[in-house]
């Protein structure tokens, strides 16, 4: 097995025993990128030379020091909506085609401190709006399990980099499923932590009250390692939680015996692909066999989550994206007649179709006369959904659901119908509405060999429990050894 195919904790063992160097590890990923990036197109911007240079520096340092931190010398990538000083941060938008931020996202600073090696910035749906990464202004990213299929989105590039072994781990952002859904489509682990657990400073905002950064990894143990590094209070983010730091690897392997796993009919309704249903039923059986108790739970308001989500997220986006006006940074239209025209031309040319549609939707929902019916109503429904989850978690420790109704769909298949595209987020958005954590792990393959994702949800700050429950399944089924068939030419 190539080094690039290993997990972080496997590489850690080798580095610990001094059987490999950071340079060898990094070279292996750089080689892998050279071999497959032209097929997957996960990256918008590669920093491989800098990565190799950084690897050399860390090797020297490690020669002298005894203790290594778990992510030190491990190559990773960031979704291109996290600000990196000196490295372009485009959000996959023409609007920020040349934006070079004079500051770092908090998570990037954290990973610099941890000694991480940045390989580059990954492709995404423009401004994180989309479910297939087809809304990138720059390129289409391909699912390594079937290059004709989408990787999901909006963090498609980050999911693919991990699935194709072109990074050991990546960070994505999840506003309505943008980590969990591509993780599901690409057969990797993806987690959206509790809102406020990871600082949003330097994450280019889509919908402030829903956005949350989280990891993509090859297995659950790696997810715990990365989460350990990126959580923590940040005084620059007023919504960042001020809690004591946890080590999620400590409780990872405690098992699920006696735990209550909830299953709700609302997540197994119409539109669910039969193989996905079957795979989830198998997973439930696995948990039962491991000694967990399966309980039926029910929701009252879940059907309204998607509507509320599109109103809230679009409204916040319309305001968050108003700053792109062609004055202080980014794209400016070449020809315009006066100030108002400068705004209109710049924004109409700089934003893609989907982004413009969401800005329009959000502006409409906030405009006078419609605020109460759309925005305020959605914020009230948000309360109902939050309460719904609270009541569900009174009866179970975690909730088990499919991550998405289907496996990855074909490139171009849903681009003409936004509503149909939005419906692919139906199982993931309620989680952001309620601010709770969720993790997607692979649980099987469909008849075409495409990965199926299982979503585990828990109450606020239940990351420890979720990782434990996820690890138990992964350990039992051994799916982490399933690799995308990229080698066999398509």
């Amino acid at each position: 097995m190539e080094l690039s195919q290993k997990t972080i904790h496997e590489i850690n063992d080798l580095l610990e025993k001094k059987e490999v160097t950071v340079t060898e590890v990094t070279q292996s990923v750089v080689d892998r990128i050279a071999a497959v990036e032209n097929k997957t197109a996960a990256y918008l911007n590669l920093q491989t030379e800098e990565a190799l240079r950084a690897a050399g520096v860390i090797d020297e340092k490690l020669g002298e020091q005894k203790k290594r931190t778990p992510l030190e010398g491990i190559p990773y990538a960031l979704k291109d909506n996290m600000c990196t000083q000196g490295i372009l941060t485009t959000c996959a938008s023409k609007m920020l085609y040349n934006f070079n931020p004079p500051y770092n996202a908090h998570v990037y600073d954290r990973l610099i401190e941890e000694g991480g090696i940045l390989l580059g910035k990954t492709n995404m749906d423009e401004f994180a709006m989309g479910s297939s990464t087809e809304n990138s202004a720059y390129k289409i990213t391909h699912n390594p399990w079937d290059l004709n299929k989408v990787p999901g989105g909006s963090s498609g590039g980050s999911a693919v980099a991990v699935a194709a072994d072109t990074a050991f781990y990546t960070l994505g952002s999840d506003t309505g499923g943008s980590i969990r859904q591509p993780a599901s489509f690409c057969g990797v682990v993806g987690m959206k932590p509790t809102y406020g657990l990871v600082s949003r400073y330097g994450l280019v905002a889509f919908a402030s009250s829903l956005d949350q950064i989280g990891p993509f990894t090859k297995d659950v143990e790696d997810c715990a390692l990365v989460l350990n590094a990126i959580i923590g209070h940040d005084p620059k983010d007023s919504t960042s939680l001020n809690l004591e730091k946890k080590d999620y690897t400590q409780t990872l392997k405690q098992g699920v015996k006696g735990m209550k796993i909830g299953v709700a009919q609302a997540f197994f309704g119409e539109g669910l692909q039969p193989e996905v249903r079957k795979s989830l039923e198998d997973a439930i059986a696995v948990y039962k066999a491991m000694g967990a108790e399966i309980v039926d739970v029910s929701f009252q308001y879940l059907d309204y989550a998607l509507s509320a989500y599109y109103m809230i997220s679009s409204a916040e986006a319309s305001s968050n994206l108003a700053r792109y006006d062609g004055i202080r940074y980014g794209y400016r239209a070449e020809e315009y007649d006066g100030l108002v025209d400068l705004y209109k031309k710049t924004r109409s040319q700089g934003f893609g179709e989907e982004v413009k549609r969401r800005i329009m939707l959000g502006t409409y929902a906030l405009s006078s006369g419609y605020y109460d019916a759309y925005y305020k109503k959605a914020m009230q429904v948000r309360t109902l959904i939050k309460d719904d989850f609270n009541q569900v978690f009174d009866g179970c420790d975690v909730l088990l659901t499919p991550t998405a109704p289907t496996t990855a769909f074909g490139i171009g298949e849903k681009t003409s119908n936004p509503l149909e595209m939005y419906l692919t987020d139906i199982y993931t958005v309620p989680v952001n509405i309620a601010g709770i954590p969720g993790i997607s792990i692979p649980c099987g393959l469909d008849n075409n060999g495409m990965p199926i994702g299982m979503q585990l949800l828990g109450p606020i700050l239940s990351e420890e429990t979720l990782l434990k429950v996820a690890w138990a399944f992964e350990n039992e089924k051994g799916l982490k050894n399933l690799k995308a068939p990229l080698e066999t030419e398509v």
Partner: protein, 478 residues
């Protein structure tokens, strides 16, 4: 038909914090363009605001000083609109739950006391500056972006330009006293928006109002109100309807004009700011701020009357600004002659300040120096006339009064021998005066005193000189 005007005001006041409302950039005024900025106040992608704790403290203080209720729960909202001086394209402000509500300020105009209601006070951020507007284009300076403001909104309780001015001055005075703002009008630290409508005297319904924005002096406020009320009366008398609009006041031309906006009616799409958490203020915090509030003008005025036995007029003038009151109090603590100090502050100092285009805020002499000067006058070292000369020189050179007295030889002549000789000569040279006095014309004494002062260049101690004159005259008249 007799009309009455109805005025409500919105006052924007920059708070005197060291840093901006949502980032750690300094708020200093008058720096080079775009040197006091950071990713947060430049509205760069992905940055987040964190509220300055002093802003909450100052707003609470202002609220208490203006007799408001302090909200237990308030929150920030976004006001969305595009303008080049607004980097995020939204102003972070407070919409439905402001930090203070329901205050009142008592004013006195022509001896009549009256309450002006304060509807609300909310906190928000200032915008940037547009410079050198020309056909070529406009330049944008972001330094002021994010400087904290409170906006004070009044009830439509004022009925004249004079009431508006007195109210505005009183608010300025209170805010300056409480230390929440330096209220420097010339730096734009305090700006007024005026809502004005006219109605038939005695009517209860309000007429259609217009709004004049960004009046930045009391003079502009008064003139704008006078102009706009006249304009509206003329329109109404012609049978025209008043158009609800924003008008721009041109202080140089002394006219207002419609800010004809091509835009649609503003639709600010306010919604709760998701990047900032609610402000929850407990009773204990309010009590603490209350206990730290300095003495307000009203109370101070009364104390001056009681403690220093000053006339009400003096007390009013001295407490009309915190800076003046502080100057007075420091002087009086060094030299216990309140009325004398008060006279000099009210009468002698203002023309000197005016001449040098200064204000009490940057007065070039120290209270201790004034106290020293007045002591010299009181002790008879110099007379009052010389005292005024010395004060002028203190303004010019910044030197201490005793130094100036010495340098210019201004000490009074109290030496009876020297004075007697001078007076003998003057009496001898002016037989007519002697005659007049003999005939019972006491006024002639004044003439002789004047001659003595002239001969001594004003340095004669008047009391001593008068006594000698009377002695010498008596001797001559036998």
């Amino acid at each position: 038909m007799e009309y009455e005007m109805v005025i409500g005001m919105e006052i924007h006041v920059e708070l005197g914090t060291k840093t901006k409302i949502f980032c750690s950039c300094p708020t200093e005024f008058g720096q080079d363009e775009n040197t006091h900025t950071c990713p947060v106040c430049l509205g760069m992608p992905g940055v987040l605001p964190v509220l300055n704790e002093k802003v909450v403290e100052y707003a609470t203080r202002a609220g208490l000083a203006l007799n408001c209720e302090i909200a237990h729960f308030s929150k920030m909202d976004r006001k969305n609109y595009f303008y080049p001086d607004l980097p995020k394209a939204y102003q972070t402000s407070q919409f439905d739950l402001p930090i203070c509500t329901g205050g009142v300020v008592e004013i006195e105009v022509d001896g009549m006391k009256k309450d002006i209601g304060i509807t609300r006070i909310h906190i928000e951020e200032d915008a940037g500056k547009l410079l050198h507007e020309s056909a070529e284009g406009t330049l944008v300076d972001v330094n002021r972006c994010g400087v904290p403001l409170v906006e004070i909104v009044t009830e439509p309780d004022m009925r004249s330009a004079e009431e508006a001015r007195v109210f505005a001055e009183k608010v300025r005075n209170i805010l300056e006293y409480t230390g929440v703002s330096d209220c420097k009008m010339q730096e734009g630290s305090m700006r007024f928006d005026v809502n004005l409508s006219m109605r038939e005297k005695g009517a209860t319904v309000l007429g259609t109002r217009t709004e004049m924005k960004n009046l930045n002096s009391f003079r502009a406020l008064v003139r704008a109100v006078q102009y706009e009320s006249k304009r509206q009366i003329i329109e109404l008398k012609k049978g025209h309807k008043i158009i609800q609009e924003t008008r721009k006041w041109d202080d140089t031309k002394g006219v207002s004009s419609s800010l004809r906006s091509k835009e649609e009616a503003q639709d600010y799409r306010y919604f709760p700011e998701p990047d900032l958490v609610p402000i929850v203020i407990e009773k204990e915090y309010i009590e603490k701020i209350k206990s730290e509030l300095p003495e307000l003008p009203e109370a101070k005025k009364q104390r001056y009357i009681d403690e220093y036995k000053l006339p009400e007029y003096d007390a009013g003038v001295l407490t009309a600004s915190g800076v003046t009151a502080r100057f007075f109090e420091e002087a009086v603590s060094l030299y216990d002659e309140a009325k004398q100090i008060s006279n000099w502050i009210m009468v002698e100092i203002p023309p000197l300040l005016k001449e040098k285009e200064l204000t009490m805020e940057n007065i070039p002499i120290k209270p201790a120096q004034l106290a020293e000067l007045l002591k010299l006058v009181k002790d008879g070292v110099i007379n009052g006339t010389s005292g005024k000369e010395v004060l002028k020189e203190m303004f010019n050179s910044g030197k201490n009064p005793d130094e100036i007295v010495k340098e210019q030889g201004l000490s009074q002549v109290s030496d009876t021998g020297e004075l007697e000789a001078i007076i003998e000569k003057i009496v001898a040279d002016n037989p007519k005066s002697l005659e007049d006095i003999g005939a019972g014309n006491e006024k002639a004494y004044g003439f002789l005193t004047g001659q003595v002062m002239k001969a001594t260049k004003g340095k004669a101690n008047p009391q001593v000189a008068n006594k000698i004159i009377r002695d010498v005259v008596a001797k001559h008249l036998g």
